[in-house]
């Protein structure tokens, strides 16, 4: 089979429609079989294993089938991926485990303000299509640092590119492997550590033998699973509740009901005006600077993340690269415009059937997820009625007979983890277990596909840019491919090991990836195409200063908050009261001794983090300042140093027009 494939590589590509059509049909048949088995009484746990096991096997099968020993296939899938399929692969590459499982939860928690993520993670594709992707495709690079090296001359811009790439991709891939561990342990009851290494195995099987080629075709398969899994539960829910199988329209009614219920809860004393954030009211969590700053940073970050840009290196032509970005956004849009519907339905369920109920009459799902530590009532995990009765009695300072204690659950008593919103939907709507299994398989597909893309981006930068281009220009093809695979495995193991330690910081640092990529790469990529006058000096200066400034803001405001605040107190948004509190807590910390000192430091550091900022900007949007600075430095330094040579300017003209051969012609076998 595989030898036939290598002999006539066109066969697979020309039959894509048939192959993936059959695959999708087969997937539905498989879901139907599981549903029948469930009716026959096969235990849920076995069904869960079948679901996850079989989908993993299919991905691994595709991964093995598409193995390759050709450099061009390994790095850019032979540049034969049609726009439509590359769009699907990019969708899977883009939508992470966190997008699949957590995005709806973020919208649940933040309401309108959470839409900054929906906007930020879609609009960036306009920048990708218009400013960058088609030109990088024409250039003919294998990696993003390849372009920087060729355009700006020499190893230093390449090295800077690799550093930025690794900074923004490594934390991200760690979070994906962590997500596979969480999903597998929650749905299958596997031990978290075991689940992480099982996930690692799944990722390696998909990517190691065939590089970009294997990752591409597994990502298409994973996209189909993830989008079906995301849409099915919410479509069923919408049909049940509103008689309309289009949740994206029917949740308008849910929004009205939520708003009405919010007013009623406040009137009945079930919610506190201060803690209840009305779902459709803007700027309750972020102020306008942070809301729009976040949108900008996420968009520009999208347009700079190497694992996304390198997907457009695989299309057969510049024209298809552009179409492919449009398809990518369409496939991503399908999930992102559905997420707010999940959030609205979940919120309505909570407001109607949880808040205002007596503790004895809470729905079952509260305890199901309470036992996993994901739902808290009155500050404790909702493990049993007795446990929450006791906690709520304490919370309202009830001192009488516990037998007489009645309590209507208030809004402020109830806390729910973001991840529950999507994973609990099948259960809340009373759907059979097969749907829950489907959601688990979808979440896993989302996490695995993103991990594959990121891992490949990192390993390719190390093997192609560092090893081949910088260390050994004469390395034979076979050795390059072996080095590429060894590095892939090493990076994967490092990421899995990091994930297995459950590093809290790494997970919150994922959001930083967007700002780091934006500040480090965007100006150099855009000006590299759109400004002939930009030269190597300018690019290097702009990258170092932009990236450095972004990193300084991120690390300074998070880890060195007090010294950051003291250096920049004149730019901080802290009110006079907050500034006074800062001085007070600092004094308390400095005068404390022994055990009290650690506690005083924690309180001081926490407060310092809330005042360590420039004009109130949160560190998730750190690139807001670094980005314009990067652009200005690049522009100014380029103007005061010699213009690029005529040869270079001709090359830029060549990059700009689709016609003609690629600039960089690698030996491909």
């Amino acid at each position: 089979m595989a030898t036939k494939e290598q002999a006539a590589p066109g066969d697979f590509v020309s039959n894509l429609g048939k192959i993936y059509g059959l695959y999708t049909g087969g997937f539905f048949v498989f879901v139907a079989i599981i549903a029948v088995l469930e009716q026959m009484g096969v235990p849920n746990r076995i069904l869960g294993y079948m679901f996850v096991g079989l989908t993993l096997l299919v991905y691994a099968f595709i991964g093995v089938l598409t193995r390759t020993m050709q450099v061009g296939e390994y790095y850019v899938a032979g540049r034969r991926v049609p726009a439509f399929y590359n769009g699907m692969a990019t969708g899977a590459d883009w939508m992470s485990g966190a997008s699949f499982v957590g995005m709806a939860g973020t919208l649940y928690a933040l309401g309108y303000d959470g839409l900054a993520f929906v906007l930020g993670w879609t609009g960036g594709y306009v920048l990708v299509a218009v400013l960058i992707a088609p030109y990088l495709r024409k250039f003919g690079a294998y990696t993003v640092p390849d372009f920087l090296a060729e355009r700006y001359g020499g190893w230093f811009p390449r090295l800077l590119g690799v550093i930025v790439l690794i900074c923004c991709s490594f934390t991200y891939v760690t979070a994906q492997i962590y997500a596979t561990g969480i999903i597998a342990s929650r749905f299958l009851g596997l031990d978290f550590q075991v689940a992480v290494y099982a996930g690692l195995l799944g990722i390696l099987l998909c990517s190691m033998l065939g590089g970009m080629r294997a990752v591409t075709w597994t990502q298409v398969a994973q996209y189909i699973v993830l989008i079906v899994a995301y849409l099915v539960p919410v479509v069923i829910l919408s049909t049940q509740k509103y008689g309309l199988p289009i949740p994206q329209i029917s949740y308008g009614q849910a929004l009205q009901d939520i708003t009405a219920r919010e007013g009623a809860m406040i009137a009945q004393g079930l919610a506190d005006v201060k803690s209840l954030k009305p779902h459709t009211t803007p700027f309750t969590t972020y102020d306008t600077l942070n809301y729009f700053g976040l949108i900008l940073c996420l968009m520009v970050g999208t347009a700079s993340l190497p694992h996304i840009l390198m997907r457009y290196f695989t299309t057969p032509s510049v024209r298809e690269a552009r179409q492919s970005v449009a398809w990518s956004l369409f496939f991503i849009f399908l999930l992102y415009f559905t997420a707010p519907a999940y959030a609205a339905f979940a919120k309505l369920e909570v407001y109607n059937n949880v808040i205002g109920q007596t503790l004895a009459s809470l729905p079952d799902w509260v305890y199901t997820y309470g036992n996993l530590g994901l739902v808290k009532i009155c500050g404790v995990g909702a493990t049993s009625v007795d446990a929450i009765r006791e906690a709520c009695a304490k919370a309202v300072q009830y001192t009488g007979d516990m037998g007489q204690f009645t309590h209507l659950l208030r809004h402020q008593d109830f806390a729910i983890d973001n991840d529950v919103v999507v994973i609990s939907t099948p259960e809340i709507a009373g759907m059979p277990y097969v749907i829950a299994g489907l959601v688990a398989a979808g979440g896993l597909a989302a996490a695995l596909s993103t991990a594959d893309g990121l891992l490949l981006a990192i390993a390719n930068a190390l093997s192609h840019d560092i090893y081949y281009k910088m260390l050994d220009r004469n390395a034979p093809t076979a050795r390059r491919l072996i080095v590429a695979r060894v590095l892939l495995v090493l990076v994967a193991i490092a990421a899995a090991y990091t994930a297995s330690t459950k590093p809290a910081d790494i997970l919150s640092m994922v959001a930083w990836a967007f700002s780091l990529a934006a500040a480090g790469l965007f100006p150099a990529l855009v000006l590299g195409v759109w400004s002939k006058r930009t030269n190597g000096y300018g690019a290097v200066a702009g990258m170092i200063i932009g990236f450095g400034m972004c990193l300084y803001y991120l690390v300074g405001t998070r880890y060195f908050a007090s010294s950051f605040y003291e250096t920049w107190s004149f730019l901080s948004s802290a009110s006079p009261e907050a500034a006074a509190k800062y001085a007070e807590l600092k004094q308390a910390w400095m005068s404390a001794t022994g055990d009290a000192q650690a506690a005083a430091w924690t309180a001081f550091d926490k407060h310092a983090q809330s005042v360590a900022n420039w004009w109130g900007l949160r560190n998730i949007s750190a690139a807001l300042f670094a980005l314009p600075v990067g652009f200005i430095v690049m522009w100014v330094v380029s103007r005061i140093t010699p213009a690029p040579s005529q040869t270079m300017q001709d090359m830029i003209d060549n990059i700009r027009r689709p016609k003609g051969d690629m600039i960089l012609q690698e030996k491909t076998n």
Partner: protein, 86 residues
């Protein structure tokens, strides 16, 4: 027309399309959402309009924009003789 002229015409038209796309992007990413409070007073199918634009409206605009962009840029390529060989 010389090769040089064709390149200039091609790049001029490409740049114009780029600026149009960036202006639309700016509008749907930011400007429209400045008016969220005013738009929220209008309700369509239950959606406050300001909320709807951020949850769906702008996203739909982005998708449509990209397909139009791909098409327009293709005709610029063809008209100026810069298209790839089939």
């Amino acid at each position: 027309m010389t090769e040089h002229h064709r390149q200039d015409e091609y790049w001029g038209r490409t740049s114009r399309l780029m600026w149009i796309m960036l202006a639309l992007w700016l509008f749907f990413s930011f400007i429209i959402h400045f008016f969220v409070n005013a738009l929220n007073s209008i309700t369509i199918l239950g959606f406050p309009l300001g909320f709807y634009m951020a949850a769906q409206g702008s996203l739909i605009a982005f998708v449509i924009m990209l397909f139009i962009f791909a098409k327009s840029q293709n005709s610029i390529d063809r008209d100026t003789g810069m298209a790839e060989e089939e």
